[in-house]
């Protein structure tokens, strides 16, 4: 189990403090945010191309998902009654601040689009709200990758180049799944195509990320996170196959839709758990940093910045 890379730690204690975010609230939000964002995008596309069934179903799905995640996010705060403090300032250096403002704009638009659609009123407002939600949706679906990567958690931060693509793929998978659940043939054709694109993007991006992470691939492969990631892949393959056949039968479409939603959820929960595991393991923090120092070359500077290895500074 223990790889060759030897390292020292303080009684095996973690170097960084692990996130205090709770499951299922936070990983659930990662999933629901992606689902909502892509669903709004589908609803907007359906509105533009005259597919009222898909439009209504997707808009309703987006509004429910974002409503639920809003509740989860507030519940996860240490001081829920102070949630409005999120809007005290706007900071680009804080993805959570950016996300709060995005949600403030997106949530009402998604809600209004669904409400007007279901009630069958205010067609022009509905159209405007649907298109606004559609425009903001992709940001809602992907900013959460920045949120996770902008921490000292090794498995998240070191995957920061690929993580947005994993999240975009996972969001597309979820949105396509919902599309297949709510819309029948022929209106679900865009959802079927999106399922294909989303699953391939999710699979490729996740595998590239884990491959490039080297030592930090372990948290994505082992334990609870590893199980979730593998389940996600299995669901993805089932959903992918199902969506190819979904044009033939409604039942197959519904089954494929459910599998795609499961795939996206497993991936998000898996990534969340991988980060938690890597935060708790001092090796994940220490070894990559040591390797970075060694690549830079030890010398006087290394001693000055507190990293000099005895032996490299003439101690022998």
């Amino acid at each position: 189990m223990v790889p060759e890379a030897s390292f020292t730690s303080y009684y095996g204690r973690p170097v960084i403090n692990a996130p205090v975010w709770r499951s299922p609230e936070v990983p659930g939000y990662l999933f629901l945010g992606g689902l909502a964002g892509t669903s709004s995008l589908l609803a907007a596309g359906a509105a533009l191309t005259g597919r009222p069934g898909l439009r209504r179903g997707a808009a309703l799905g987006a509004a429910s998902a974002i409503g639920l995640s809003g509740v989860a996010l507030v519940a996860d705060l240490g001081r829920p009654e102070r949630f409005a403090n999120m809007l005290r300032v706007f900071k680009v250096t804080s993805p959570m601040s950016v996300g709060s403002w995005l949600l403030t704009a997106y949530g009402p638009a998604a809600g209004l689009a669904a409400l007007a659609d279901v009630a069958g009123i205010l067609p022009r407002t509905r159209r405007a709200a649907t298109l606004t939600a559609g425009a903001l949706g992709p940001a809602i679906a992907t900013y959460t990758a920045v949120l996770l990567a902008d921490t000292a958690v090794p498995a998240w931060h070191e995957g920061h180049r690929e993580l947005p693509f994993v999240f975009a793929g996972s969001a597309a998978t979820a949105g396509a799944g919902l599309g297949l659940l709510v819309a029948a043939r022929p209106e679900n054709a865009p959802a079927r195509r999106l399922a294909l694109a989303g699953t391939i993007c999710e699979l490729v991006a996740a595998n590239v990320m884990v491959h490039r992470l080297g030592l930090l691939a372990a948290p994505y492969r082992n334990g609870r996170a590893g199980r979730l990631m593998r389940q996600g892949e299995a669901f993805t393959l089932v959903g992918l196959a199902g969506s190819l056949l979904a044009g033939r039968s409604r039942t197959l479409g519904v089954l494929a839709g459910a599998a795609l939603l499961g795939a996206s959820a497993c991936t998000r929960f898996g990534i969340f758990e991988a980060g938690m595991a890597s935060a708790r393991d001092p090796r994940d923090t220490v070894v990559p940093q040591r390797e970075r120092l060694e690549r830079r070359g030890l010398g006087d500077r290394a001693v000055a910045s507190g990293t000099g290895a005895p032996g490299s500074d003439g101690a022998r």
Binding site: F7, T8, S9, Y10, Y11, R13, P14, V15, I16, N17, P19, V20, G37, G45, A46, L77, G78, R79, R82, M86, R88, V89, K91, V92, T93, S94, P95, A141, Y143, V146, A149, D150, T151, A152, V153, H157, L163, P164, F165, A168, A172, G175, P186, A189, P190, A191, R193, L194, C201, G275, A279, T285, R290, L293, R301, A304, S305, G306, T307, G308
Partner: protein, 289 residues
């Protein structure tokens, strides 16, 4: 309790963009000299007076009464309820040093580094974390909503969310005492001057002198940690003289402020979002079956 709001800067601070003096960069027109701690672990005797003084002065709740089995350290590490933590390392002295392989104790009092580029401050969405006129980093407890983002952002595992209370807490470098012209409680109480407080520039000179002194005396393992303004956090406001590698004391060997990569993160997310839009819209073309 510390009164942290009275002199809060009107501008929100982005430590990422700070160059030179962080209080300047935050927008203080007139501010005091940047202060900090130099913790010289070579003279620490592990009495934990700093831990106690900190708890007493700042009204920090207990962190549980457990026996950890980690030498004399039953505190464990820094958290919302521990703002000074004395580490005890039992190790064999390197043969090059005087001890010649015999067992030795390393003791070190750890604390918030009050980073020049402070990740906790950058990621805080409410603006609860601020840069003070002393160049230190402080949580305003009447603003924090307990989102918890600062906790995994800190590369040193310093800040924590207090259970039952729900808000984040960490060392304030005794902001209230500084404003009253007093020493921070830990520095005041430290019997060996292992914890030294003062203007950062003075401390850096003192540390260089002490390092040379030790090295001349044959302690080749002595090194400074966190004093270099060119490091991944722009230099710490609270830095250390260590007698072994940082990770031996539970410190990261090459800490980097996570927001350094933020432009790259946002750029990748923007490309991914654009890709999502393009892909989804493309799916609406083609045959309507």
């Amino acid at each position: 309790m510390t009164e942290t709001t009275a002199r809060a800067p009107r501008r929100v601070s982005f430590s990422l963009l700070e160059r030179g003096d962080p209080a300047d960069a935050t927008g203080y027109r007139a501010h005091l000299e940047r202060v900090g701690f130099f913790t010289d672990t070579s003279v620490c005797i592990g009495c934990k007076a700093c831990e106690v003084a900190c708890k007493e002065w700042n009204g920090v709740p207990d962190d549980g009464f457990r026996l950890t089995g980690m030498s004399f350290d039953n505190t464990g590490g820094l958290s919302g309820n521990t703002w000074r933590h004395v580490a005890f390392v039992e190790t064999h002295a390197p043969a090059a040093d005087a001890g010649d392989g015999e067992l030795r104790w390393l003791m070190a009092s750890d604390v918030c580094k009050h980073c020049t580029h402070a990740a906790c401050l950058d990621v805080c969405p409410t603006g609860a974390l601020i840069r003070t006129e002393f160049g230190t980093v402080v949580v305003q407890d009447d603003v924090c909503n307990g989102c918890g983002y600062c906790v995994p952002a800190c590369p040193f595992g310093v800040i924590g969310r207090r259970e039952h209370d729900g808000r984040a807490f960490k060392c304030t470098l005794c902001y209230d005492r500084l404003r009253a012209g007093m020493l921070p409680a830990c520095a005041q109480t430290c019997p060996t001057d292992s914890i030294q407080f003062g203007p950062l520039d003075d401390l850096r000179m003192r540390a260089e002198r002490r390092l040379r002194e030790l090295q001349d005396a044959g302690v080749s393992s002595a090194r400074l940690y966190g004093e270099d303004p060119e490091d991944g956090i722009g230099g710490a406001g609270a830095f250390f003289l260590l007698l072994d590698e940082p990770e031996v004391y539970g410190l990261p060997p090459d800490p980097v402020v996570t927001t350094r990569d933020l432009p790259c993160l946002w750029a990748h997310a923007a490309v991914a979002a654009a890709g999502l839009v393009a892909t989804a819209l493309t799916c609406f073309f083609g045959r309507r079956r």
